[in-house]
Point group: C2
C-alpha cells in the first residue's frame, strides 16, 4: 500500500510546494517522499512514491489532476475508434524519472529495508482512460467491454504489454518487489473477469516476472480471489472485507498473502485498533507467507501515531 500521503505532516509540507505529478516526475522529490514513512514509522519496506496513471500520458492518454476531483482525462478512450491515437512506448525512456528515483532510493535504503515498486493493472488503468477519471459504476468501461469486445482486448493487451515492461524496468532499476494494483476490478463478476481481464494479467505477469516477487492486489474481490491467483503473482493481496483466513483459503493456501487490516480501524480507539490487528495476526496463525499490511490505502484523516502503534504492535507480536 502507498505509505506516504496526506496523513503525514512532512508529506503535506512537500505538497504545499509541489503538485503531485511534479513530485512523481522529479527523482529527488520521489526519494524524499518515499523515505518519509520509512523514517517516521519504522515499516519493513519502502514503497516507491508514484501515481498509477503515469503510463497513460506516454501511451497517448494525457491526464491532469483537478482540485478536489482527482485525475481527469480530457479525451477519454470510449471505443475502438479512439485506439488509433495510442502508441507503444519504452518506459526506460518515457518514464525515466521513476527509474532514476528507484536507483537513488536503493542507495539510500541499502542495508535498511527493501524497496517495492508498483503499477496499475490493465482493467484499473483502462477504467480511468475510458471513464475520464474516477468512477463508482464503471458504466462506460463496461459498455466498452460489452459492446466492442475486440477493441477492449486490443486496449487491455496494449496496457498489459506497456505495464509489464514498465514493471520489469522497475525491477531492473533496483525494485526488490513489485505490486500490481487492480484496485477497481472487484466490480466485475467472475465470468467477465475471466473473459476481459485474466488473459491480459497473464501477459503482464509474464513480461514483468522472473526477477523479483510480484504482489497482486485488488479491492472488493472476495468473489474473485481464486481467479486473481490464477491470473498471476507470487503474493495475493486481500482487502479488509473478508477474514484473512477465509481470503487465504480462497486464494489457495500454497500462495503467500498480504493484508488485511481495515484502514478505517486507524481512525478509531487504540484499543479497538490493536484488537483488530491481533485478529488479523490470529487469522494468519503465524504461518510463513503472510505479509501484514492494510487492506487498502491509508486514509487521509489517519493519525500518524496510530500507524506507528500498529507497526510497533505487529513487530512486538511477530518478533522471533
Amino acid at each position: 500500500m502507498r505509505q506516504a500521503g496526506r496523513y503525514m505532516p512532512e508529506y503535506r509540507a512537500v505538497r504545499e510546494r509541489h503538485d503531485l505529478l511534479e513530485i512523481c516526475r522529479t527523482p529527488e522529490l520521489v526519494v524524499e517522499v518515499t523515505l518519509q514513512p520509512v523514517r517516521a514509522l519504522g515499516v519493513d519496506a519502502g514503497i516507491l512514491f508514484s501515481d498509477l496513471l503515469l503510463p497513460l500520458a506516454p501511451l497517448g492518454i494525457p491526464f491532469r489532476f483537478a482540485a478536489g476531483e482527482g485525475p481527469v482525462v480530457d479525451a477519454p478512450v470510449r471505443g475502438g475508434d479512439d485506439l488509433a491515437r495510442l502508441r507503444r512506448f519504452d518506459p526506460r525512456e518515457e518514464l525515466r524519472p521513476v527509474l532514476d528515483a528507484i536507483r537513488l532510493l536503493r542507495r539510500e535504503l541499502e542495508g535498511k529495508v527493501p524497496l517495492i515498486g508498483f503499477a496499475g493493472a490493465p482493467f484499473t488503468l483502462a477504467s480511468y482512460a475510458v471513464e475520464g477519471g474516477r468512477s463508482t459504476q464503471f458504466a462506460a468501461t463496461k459498455a466498452f467491454m460489452y459492446s466492442e469486445p475486440r477493441a477492449w482486448h486490443a486496449l487491455a493487451a496494449l496496457l498489459a504489454e506497456v505495464v509489464g515492461d514498465y514493471l520489469r524496468a522497475q525491477a531492473e532499476a533496483g525494485a526488490q518487489a513489485l505490486q500490481v494494483f487492480d484496485s477497481w476490478v472487484g466490480v466485475l463478476d467472475a465470468p467477465d473477469y475471466r473473459e476481459f481481464v485474466l488473459p491480459h494479467l497473464r501477459t503482464l505477469f509474464a513480461r514483468a516476472g522472473g526477477l523479483v516477487p510480484l504482489i497482486h492486489f485488488g479491492t472488493g474481490t472476495s468473489h474473485l480471489l481464486a481467479l486473481q491467483r490464477e491470473a498471476g503473482g507470487d503474493v495475493i493481496g486481500i482487502d479488509w472485507r473478508i477474514g484473512l483466513d477465509e481470503g487465504w483459503r480462497a486464494a489457495g493456501e500454497d500462495v503467500a498473502v498480504q493484508g488485511n487490516l481495515e484502514p478505517a480501524a486507524l481512525l478509531g480507539t487504540r484499543e479497538r485498533l490493536l484488537a483488530r490487528v491481533d485478529d488479523v495476526l490470529a487469522r494468519a496463525g503465524g504461518r510463513a507467507g503472510h505479509i501484514f499490511n492494510l487492506g487498502h490505502g491509508i486514509l487521509p484523516a489517519t493519525p500518524v501515531e496510530n500507524v506507528k502503534a500498529v507497526v510497533d504492535h505487529v513487530h512486538a507480536r511477530t518478533a522471533r
Copy 2:
C-alpha cells in the same frame, strides 16, 4: 430496483419542469413518474418513485441536491454531540405526500400490477448523514462507529425505528411489498456488520414486518449474504457480482431471492445481453422464489429498447 430514471425520455421531460425533491413531495408527480416504466416496459410491478433520503429531513438532518454532486447534507452528523438535534417523527405526518402517492397509485394500478414501496436501511442512511453526501471510502462513517460506538448505536437505533415505522406506514397506505436498500453496507466486514448493523436491521424488520413481503437488498455483499438473511427480510436481493446460484446458496436456499442481471449488460450488444439474462435464469433453474431483476439500479445511459427486450425475453422464457 428503481425503474423510472434518466434513461427514459418521459422521465427526463418531467425533470425539466420539476426537481427531484419536488417530484418526491408531490403525490400527482410521484404517480406520473412511477407509472412511466409500468406503461413503457410491461414490468410485473410498479416501484414507488421516491428518494432514500426523504426521512432525513424530518429527523433534523436537512439535505439538498447539488447539480452534478448528488445529495449534500450541509451539517453532517459527525459524532455523539450531533445527536441532540435529531428528533423522532411520525411518518404519517411528515412524509404524508409519499403515503398519499401510494394511495393514488393503488387506485391507478389496481388489477394490473402490484406496487412496491421502499426505504433506506440505517447504515446506508447514516452514511449520507455522517459523510455529508455520497462516499466511496465511508471513512467518517467508520470513524464514528469505531470511536463512538455507543453514539453510533443510538443513531442507528433511531434510524431503524423511524424507517421501520415509515415502511409500515407505506404498507398501511397500500404498498404490496417493501424493499429495504442497504446499498453501501458491503464496505463492512462480517464482524462489523454483526456488531454495528445487524441489531438495527432486526429492529427495522420487526417494526415494518407482518403486513407485506419485505425485500432486503445491498450491493457488494457477497461476503455478507448469510448475515443479511439473518438480519431479516422475506426476499434477499443479490447484486450482479456473484452467480445467482452461488448467492442463493449463501443466503440460504429456503429464502426467496431477487436478482441479478449486471445493469451494465444493458449497455452492450443485444446478443450478449440476452445470453446474460439466460444465464441468470439458468442459475435460478426455474425454482419458485426467484424474482428476476437487475443486480443494482438501472444506469442513466441505458437504451430503453434494451430494457424492454429483457422484460419480453424473461416473460417469454418463464411463461407457464
